[in-house]
């Protein structure tokens, strides 16, 4: 996390997401990261902070987002990951961070956001499912010195690779990705119960005087305020095919004016801010 500091999946995400946003991702910085994160996926399907530790929502988001950013998400066992995350939503309607632990509003983003990301990767996951019970095909990573954080590759039947871009490549410049056009989901819906999650956030985590909290009985704080809101946003937009299209009314619990700004699920930045940053840093390559 810092010079001589502790090493875990958070640091992978922090470094890679910042490098990605600043458009300075390259082979050097991503070398070995995917291997490490793979070692952090546990027998439960989720991702741990360090190899051997327990699968945990926060680290799962960090690991998953990082793998996406470095174009190695296909190396994860996505079916077991999806299964684990999906089972973190419980009777209270919010998400828990780990198996058999308590619900907490902040996991609305760590877990809900992970499933939101996965929605947009489903073609890879489907390939993995379809290849059961045979061994999962190892996909080659194509790196030409510059990692295009906006794309990932999937194998084609003829053995060649197909690049799928997360983002509409308006510039078609090498490594640049402007605009946003998420991969379409096959059935258009979230993998979790979006309305239930919104219920938990608004009814249990919300503090009427302002801000959000872990759960009733806890005090509000900025961390929970941030991640409950991010989780709420992700939930509201989980029915949208693309980042720019407004959600249908039934996607938003309560008044439609409850609708929040959309966030970029890899960075948890409000999209407008992301666009600005992206534009600024793409000029500087």
């Amino acid at each position: 996390m810092h010079h001589t500091g502790e090493m875990d999946v958070r640091a992978c995400y922090t470094a890679i997401s910042v490098a990605s946003l600043l458009n300075i991702l390259d082979f050097e910085i991503t070398k070995g990261v995917g291997d490490y994160i793979l070692r952090c996926q546990t027998y439960e399907g989720g991702i741990a902070g360090e190899p051997g530790s327990e699968a945990h929502g926060g680290y799962t988001f960090c690991g998953l987002a990082t793998m996406i950013l470095i174009n190695e998400v296909h190396r994860l066992d996505l079916t077991s990951l999806i299964d684990w995350v999906a089972f973190r939503q419980g009777l209270e309607c919010g998400f828990q961070g780990r198996t058999n632990k308590l619900v907490d509003g902040c996991y609305s983003f760590w877990q809900g956001g992970s499933l939101f990301l996965i929605q947009r990767l489903l073609s890879i996951a489907e390939n993995q499912i379809k290849s059961l019970p045979m061994s999962i095909e190892q996909e080659q990573l194509s790196m030409e010195g510059n990692v295009d954080s906006a794309a990932f590759t999937v194998p084609k039947p003829d053995g060649s690779q197909r690049q799928i871009h997360y983002f509409e490549n308006k510039d078609a410049g090498k490594g640049s990705a402007t605009g946003l056009d998420f991969i379409r989901t096959t059935n258009g819906g979230p993998l979790f119960h979006s309305i239930a999650l919104q219920q938990y956030i608004l009814l249990c985590s919300q503090v009427l005087e302002g801000g959000f909290k872990d759960k009733p009985g806890k005090a509000r704080d900025h961390y929970h305020s941030c991640y409950c809101l991010s989780g709420l946003s992700v939930s509201q937009y989980s029915f949208s095919k693309s980042a720019d299209s407004p959600p249908p009314p039934n996607a938003v619990l309560g008044l439609y004016s409850n609708l929040l700004e959309p966030v970029h699920p890899l960075y948890n930045l409000v999209l407008d801010k992301y666009y600005k940053a992206h534009e600024f840093f793409s000029v500087m390559s």
């Binding site: 810092h2 502790e6 198996t99 632990k101």
Partner: protein, 437 residues
């Protein structure tokens, strides 16, 4: 009149061993002094002076053993410091400087006063360095005065590269105000190395801080750093420490990571599986303990690895399932035992057997249905018993088709009985492997 006025120190003290310091400010115990840290050296009228409550035979207990004491000994209260005759602290031990009142150093919260660094003679040579937030700070923080000053002095020693005992004490003060400041911890490590401090004492100190801040990354990292330097002799002690943490919070993530690291780096595996069993006897739902089981059976050099442990672990998990079928942990553990070996998974009769057994009870059917679905996706050939058991659950499900595969039916049932995951089951249903559609 100050009793303990130090001779004015020439210039800035940079590197220097203990010996450079006036005797009363030495804080690192001499060889032979056990346990307590830090302890001021003998002072005039030392007989009247009490450091901290010391109990014979508890050599391992730090002088700051009580977490309460820790916060008291580096008090943030400003109290009468301004007007009083002056007290100062040596690593938190309060020494009264007023005539006639010899240091009853202690930990009485009513009398705690924080002395500004500007009033501490031993710091008179140091020019504090203010925080530089630039000309237009984005989120300027309204620091408390004592915090600001402490950090101003920290910055001074950090930037000058000082490695001394007073710097060490300063880091203790800074860390008590913000245990999350990793730069202070980092600098503390540099100083510890430079003054060749007793790292066992340091471990006692950090354990004290840890018991009050058991979810702080920096503290656990510091422990890891110390343990690595101290080597295998501390393995048992470290494992014991994590046990004490688990007694308070059996799922403390940092403690589990630390425990795993100790095992792999310094050893101590012999009783680990038994410890997991113990924890699971206390709470069969403790997923951290299940995770630790997996860790042990896959990594312990004393065991034969996953393959050889599988059979006994399957039995263990099945037993746990039968006693609490609603417990997700053993179900996931079972699946985990066959990670990467799906062919063996579907051949294990105990596994398909426990699915059937729980399904037949018609209670807590989500996990067995989910596992059965997984078995089917890996090529399991269900007997008619399985089909009937699932059919028996389908009476409440409106949609029914005799041509649906069992896998498909299971998904339908799950969409109804596990409504929070209806979207997930619906997605699973539309993406079943061709062979089981």
């Amino acid at each position: 009149m100050t009793r303990f006025s130090a001779a004015p120190l020439p210039g800035r003290v940079t590197l220097g061993p203990d010996a450079n310091w006036p005797s009363q400010f030495r804080t690192v115990p001499r060889p032979g002094q056990t346990g307590q840290w830090p302890i001021p050296r003998a002072l005039p009228n030392a007989g009247l002076m009490r450091c901290v409550p010391r109990r014979p035979g508890q050599a391992s207990q730090a002088s700051f053993a009580l977490p309460r004491a820790l916060s008291r000994c580096v008090s943030r209260r400003r109290g009468q410091a301004a007007g009083g005759p002056g007290h100062f602290r040596v690593a938190g031990v309060r020494i009264s400087a007023s005539a006639g009142r010899v240091g009853t150093a202690v930990m009485s919260s009513d009398e705690d006063e924080w002395v500004p660094f500007s009033r501490r003679p031993e710091w008179s040579d140091v020019k504090p360095v203010p925080q530089d937030d630039g000309p237009h700070p984005v989120v300027p923080i309204a620091y408390r005065d004592d915090f600001r000053e402490t950090m101003d002095y920290f910055r001074a020693v950090y930037l000058s590269g000082e490695r001394s005992h007073r710097a060490l004490n300063l880091t203790a003060e800074a860390v008590s105000m913000n245990p999350g400041n990793y730069t202070v911890w980092y600098f503390r490590r540099l100083v510890l190395e430079a003054v060749d401090a007793d790292l066992n004492d340091e471990m006692e100190y950090v354990n004290c801080v840890a018991s009050k801040n058991s979810k702080n990354y920096q503290i656990w990292h510091h422990k890891r750093w110390l343990a690595e330097k101290l080597g295998p002799e501390v393995a048992q002690k470290e494992l014991e420490f994590t046990k004490r943490i688990f007694a308070i919070d059996a799922k403390n993530y940092h403690a589990w990571s630390h425990r795993q690291w100790i095992l792999e780096a310094l050893g101590g595996w012999q009783n680990e599986l038994d410890y997991c069993t113990e924890l699971l006897e206390d709470d069969i739902f403790n997923n951290s303990a299940w995770n630790q089981r997996y860790f042990v059976i896959t990594r312990s050099p004393l065991l034969g690895g996953l393959q050889s442990m599988r059979e006994s672990e399957v039995s263990y998990a099945v037993e746990a399932i039968l006693s609490n079928p609603e417990n997700e942990s053993p179900w996931r553990y079972l699946r985990g035992l066959y990670k990467g070996d799906p062919n063996l998974l579907i051949c294990n009769n105990q596994i398909s057997g426990v699915c059937l057994q729980v399904l037949k009870t018609k209670h807590n059917i989500i996990f067995p249905l989910s596992l059965l679905l997984e078995l089917l996706c890996h090529g399991f050939q269900p007997s008619t018993e399985f089909v009937s058991a699932v059919e028996a659950l389908r009476t409440s499900v409106p949609e029914s088709s005799s041509t649906s595969s069992l896998a498909n039916t299971i998904c339908s049932v799950l969409e109804t009985v596990d409504p929070i995951r209806s979207n997930y089951w619906s997605w699973r249903r539309s993406h079943l492997p061709a062979e089981v559609c």
